[in-house]
Symmetry: C2
Subunit: 354 residues, 2 copies
């Protein structure tokens, strides 16, 4: 008898949605997650709210987690990794190894890879922004954590800041470090966070130093304009070349590229808009599954423009940021599509083999 | 006995993919299309190739059309519109009317709306670009049609142009005309077309006048950089305020906003990057189905960030540009997700009603 289960790798938003979709269609899903609970990076990094609609991340993730965990058709395996894989579409055999070193074998008809992304480590970029040097240089992720706690302060003093800036494209659009691509979501997240800073510290002046703001689709009118007009966030096209300490503040040096003149502005907090990289899980799973990766390490996109979730191996599909920079909507839509294709293929092959 | 079919409204890329997905899961789809053949706007407007990978549009659409038309589970109704609709999820009854005025009734469990978009009509924008006045002012759509015919010439002379420019954001990001939103795809399409112009007319100088280039994700490294570096396309941040005739050429007047100085450049062809608006079909279908629309007329997005294809009516889902500006990948992923949810709901309700 052919296997009918779908193996889902990764328990973040895309993985949970894929597993839920598989179960919704009446098939069994085995959901494998390395961490000790579901939710993925938005959960482990304590995101406060999502772009575009600013729904609380914990509410959204708690609801998804509850649905997945209570679904009798979904077998959740936490603190577990994929360690071996063989067979062909309709008849794969996966070896799973948990944190105790116990292995188990799972037969599955198809696979959805939803192993997500890692945040770029700003220490790698020659330290030009001083992330590991100055307490008040933080990342979007550190800021989310503060918003989750309902506050926004200078880490060095615990006091509300008077002047804050975001620096865009840290670890993205940068050939020197090999990340040529744009990470797609950072412009939107920074603009959302700029509004959040202004709501928590209304007197604070907030600047966003950008190369260009990629507020595609409804992000423009729903976030960018609100940030500009209702919250008086200052968007400055500029390149930051150096951050140094001056007294108890940070001096941000660079060039205002619209005016073509040098700038030096004192800041209390500098927020680095770090981009997306393939997660360690994505690199690891790609090797075990034998699916092609692009030169950055993301799961290689299919050549067929009419298939957004195919990989180089028939029967193995991909959803979310494992395939490159994606926003939450991309990830959720891809997860639904991947669930559909994974179940359809399983059933087709089961019928064919009688 | 409850209905089990899924009604799919719209036979473009998203509608074809949704119908194919429904059938792939073993359910019946009724695919309703107003035009006399499947393919949607990319087909009726004679697109040459798709962004990002420049696959030939006819190849992609022909393959999808063949798959849909030969699938015994898909009932294709061309030159047909939805004229009445009643019932609830799992038990809808749709009235379809064809071009001859003949009506038929279809029972369906769920619906996928994939009624796409219309191109912005550049005549509406106070005629400032002279689209209906000058033969050599064309749109992205007109340019695609020329590329499909394997040529790129000045419409007024039939000769290869020496100097060509694209003007971005025509009908998008414009509050005066009520289209506040960014149309998401035009920056990418213009950059792709700029490469195509250079390939067909290597000596031609090509300019792109932009507000900012929204080359999100892989569009940056795969298209924008190639256009800049391999094809020497000139991207100029600028605002065009007027186009006038000068001799047998067009004089483009405006401001280079990086340098902060006025510009006047002679062009042989001006290509307007027109944005997306809700299609007439989307407006019509939304009313008949009773689903909520946003203030632009697109099908209103769901409030739940974990559901990208829900509408205000349970059992009715949306895919593609009917829900707002989308690229082809968005549309295809949403269509797969919508197919999954439409079939899952149909089966769940069928099981519940015994």
């Amino acid at each position: 008898m052919p296997a009918d289960a779908v193996l889902v790798g990764g328990g973040g938003p895309a993985g949970m949605e894929a597993a839920r979709g598989v179960a919704d269609l009446g098939s069994r899903a085995v959901l494998v997650e390395l961490r000790d609970r579901l939710g993925g990076t938005p959960d482990s990094a304590s995101y406060s709210s999502f772009t575009l609609d600013r729904r609380k991340a914990t509410e959204v993730l708690d609801a998804a987690r509850a649905q997945v965990q209570s679904n009798p058709l979904i077998d959740v395996r936490l603190q577990t990794r994929l360690t071996a894989f063989e067979g062909g579409a309709g008849d794969f055999r996966a070896t799973l190894t948990n944190i105790k070193g116990e292995t188990s074998s799972v037969e599955c008809a198809s696979v959805v890879v939803a192993t997500g992304f890692d945040h770029f480590d700003p220490g790698r970029e020659t330290q030009m922004y001083g992330y590991y040097e100055y307490e008040d240089v933080i990342t979007l992720v550190d800021a989310e954590r503060m918003f989750s706690a309902g506050k926004f302060v200078r880490p060095s003093t615990g006091e509300p800041p008077k002047q804050v800036c975001f620096i865009q494209c840290v670890g993205s659009r940068d050939r020197r470090i090999g990340n040529d691509y744009c990470s797609k979501v950072c412009c939107g997240i920074s603009s959302k966070q700029a509004i959040e800073v202004k709501e928590l510290v209304p007197d604070c002046k907030v600047f966003v130093f950008y190369i260009d703001m990629r507020m595609y689709g409804f992000w423009e009118n729903e976030i960018y304009w609100k940030a500009q007009e209702e919250h008086r966030v200052n968007f400055v096209r500029g390149i930051v070349t150096e951050i140094i300490r001056k007294g108890d503040r940070l001096l941000v040096k660079g060039e205002d590229t619209t005016m073509g003149r040098p700038m030096e502005v004192a800041m209390d907090v500098v927020i680095l808009a770090v981009g997306m990289e393939p997660s360690r899980g994505t690199r690891e799973v790609a090797k075990v599954l034998g699916v092609a990766q692009d030169r950055f390490g993301f799961i290689a996109p299919p050549e067929n423009a009419f298939d957004t979730v195919a990989t180089s191996v028939p029967g193995i599909f991909v959803a979310g940021a494992a395939a490159g920079p994606k926003d939450l909507d991309d990830s959720i839509s891809m997860a639904g599509a991947a669930a559909m294709k994974a179940v359809a293929m399983a059933r087709r092959l089961a019928l064919a083999s009688g």
